[in-house]
């Protein structure tokens, strides 16, 4: 039974449990969190098994209601989808373990809708990942978007405004996507991705098809915060509650990137499209600008979560850059960076959450040396994740950038190579700024400080509880493991994802 319904399992698990939470939660609000945790815990082995099966036996398709595509809706679990499903489930599991305390501190009376929405968000993500139908993808996109707007809206005082802006721009994005599907549907008569991949080469020269593609890519670009369509992101991520931003920042934009890959590389043939409209090049150049812009803006931020949000813009730029290069190595780098960035950003946002819970703020200017003694493990995780963001070996970040650089050289795009490397240096500046704050004495008057520091002052530990610390450390440690395992991943998994058109 599990075998036969493999592509459906993960989204359905999330969906069913998301529906159960309000049903049971109306009597027993305390059940919300265990149910949510049960959902992610159950989904990890399913996703892992799915990935295993797909790697061993090739893509698995599932026709809903038994109606063969293109008549019915089809779910397709291919290496890319199953891999990202596993990433989503693992990261969300860790974040959710961490979230229990954060959520009970930040909004204790909203557990039922909160966890239900979290599961709906994940159901949306996993549905997007496994569907093989453009319109079905839109439906799941809307589920995840709506849940995302809601989750962003509970945070600090500004969060409803950020969520509203997110909603308006998100609706523009999904609207564009829907309109794009419309154009393509008129000309092809199909919504199924595999079917469209066969039809589109015949009709690629038609203006509506090309416009449809442009509209879809623009819409997806808005959802994944591709520069210059990123402006909703910094506010949304920085003012949302810590538990939410740790969930949305690593996963939300990545799923957007997945849609971009799906549409641009699997539904359309990138080489054929490029001859007519230089979409991939435009994405690559915009992403390159985004890398620099995001990094520079991150440099100017005074608040950790905001800095991380801008850094997300830059990191999405890396992913877009790899995709825009439209060659296998760049693609490999982009997919690997999706994985790595999910881990890095999750770890960093968890650290920011730890800080907010224990210190009450995450302003960079107010951090000082005591933090490294009070929260040694959280800060160690911060350092590892920062090293990975910068792209230093042996952390995971080095390897995705390595493939991106290789991709840039393969395509002789020297500008992109320079941008990738320069972005890494900018990352180094803004992360070492934080690391310095945390580990070194505050600069002002530090000479006498150093003298007074001769006696080791006893600082009481303020490290977070184990349920919050463990996920942080697992994510940070995962960065080292992923770095060492990157080649294995590339050979055994990512190699299988490379779209035929590249």
């Amino acid at each position: 039974m599990i075998e036969a319904n493999l592509p459906l399992l993960v989204p359905l698990t999330f969906l069913i449990l998301a529906l159960l939470i309000p049903l049971i939660g109306v009597r027993v609000p305390g059940a919300a969190y265990p149910l949510a945790l049960a959902a992610v815990l159950a989904s990890i082995p399913m996703a892992g098994f799915g990935l295993f099966r797909v790697i061993e036996g090739g893509p698995v398709t599932y026709t809903l209601g038994g109606w063969e595509a293109p008549v019915g809706i089809e779910l397709v679990l291919d290496p890319l989808a199953s891999f990202l499903t596993l990433v989503v489930t693992v990261v969300s599991c860790l974040v959710l373990i961490h979230a229990r305390h954060v959520a009970s501190v930040e909004h204790p009376d909203k557990r039922v809708p909160y966890y239900s929405l979290v599961l709906l968000l994940l159901a949306g993500f996993c549905g997007i990942l496994s569907t093989g139908d453009l319109f079905n993808l839109y439906v799941f996109l809307e589920i995840s978007s709506l849940a995302g707007y809601g989750l962003v809206a509970i945070g600090d005082k500004r969060s409803p405004v950020a969520a509203y802006r997110y909603l308006i721009l998100g609706s523009v994005g999904t609207g564009f996507y829907l309109l794009g599907i419309g154009f393509i549907y008129v000309m092809s008569g199909s919504l199924n991705m595999a079917d469209l991949a066969r039809i589109l080469p015949h009709i690629l020269d038609q203006p509506p098809v090309l416009s449809g593609l442009i509209l879809m890519v623009t819409g997806i670009g808005l959802k994944m915060a591709l520069f210059p369509l990123h402006f909703w992101l910094p506010d949304a991520y920085s003012s949302a509650s810590s538990a939410t931003s740790a969930l949305l920042a690593p996963l939300g934009t990545k799923v957007g990137a997945y849609i971009l890959i799906r549409v641009l590389f699997f539904v359309f043939d990138p080489a054929e499209v490029e001859q007519r409209v230089p979409i991939a090049s435009v994405i690559a150049w915009l992403s390159a600008a985004g890398v620099l812009y995001g990094s520079l803006m991150a440099l100017a931020q005074q608040e950790l979560k905001r800095m991380l949000a801008y850094s997300s813009v830059a990191q999405i730029g890396y992913i877009g850059l790899g995709l825009g290069m439209a060659n296998p190595l760049g693609f490999t780098g982009a997919v690997l960076h999706i994985l790595n960035h999910a881990f890095m950003k999750a770890a960093l946002f968890l650290v920011a959450g730890n800080l907010r819970v224990k210190v009450g703020h995450s302003n960079i200017a107010d951090m000082d040396q005591r933090l490294s003694r009070q929260m040694p493990w959280s800060m160690a995780a911060l350092v590892v994740a920062a090293l990975s963001m910068i792209g230093l070996p042996p952390t995971a970040g080095f390897f995705s950038k390595w493939y991106l650089v290789l991709g840039g050289i393969q395509g002789s795009d020297w500008v992109f190579v320079a941008v990738i490397l320069l972005g890494g240096l900018l990352n180094a500046i803004y992360f070492f700024r934080v690391v310095e704050r945390v580990y070194l004495p505050f600069r002002k008057g530090s000479s006498d400080h150093a003298a007074a520091d001769g006696v080791q002052e006893v600082v009481e530990s303020r490290e977070v509880r184990l349920s919050m610390l463990a996920p942080t450390l697992v994510l940070a440690g995962g960065l080292l493991v992923l770095g060492l395992a990157s080649s294995f991943l590339v050979n055994r998994v990512i190699q299988l994802m490379i779209p035929p058109g590249l």
Partner: protein, 97 residues
């Protein structure tokens, strides 16, 4: 910001005009989405629905059959969207009991 919006609007409008130049005429019964077979030879869903809906689900209303049967999963998603909206309003607005 306003200038950028205007530029975006102009670009969007131009794109729509460009697209509409290639669309089949309104109500053109020969549009690709109305045919029986697509350019690649696969069956086109719409014609299949019209032909088989009543036989498949004993219901003359093709839209209902498509909605609830052929593309029932979409509809499940749509119901969940509604529920999501309800939960979001609960999350944002409802005071603690």
């Amino acid at each position: 910001m306003r200038k950028i919006s205007l530029i975006a609007l102009v670009l969007f409008g131009a794109l729509l005009l460009y697209a509409s130049s290639g669309l089949p005429g309104h109500g053109d019964p020969d549009g690709p989405s109305h045919r029986e077979r697509s350019r690649a030879g696969s069956p086109v869903a719409a014609a299949h629905y019209i032909r088989h809906a009543q036989g498949d689900a004993a219901s003359p209303n093709i839209v209902t059959v498509v909605l609830a049967d052929y593309r029932g999963f979409d509809t499940l998603g749509e119901t969940v969207v509604v529920l999501t909206a309800g939960l979001v309003c609960y999350l944002i607005l409802r005071r603690s009991p």
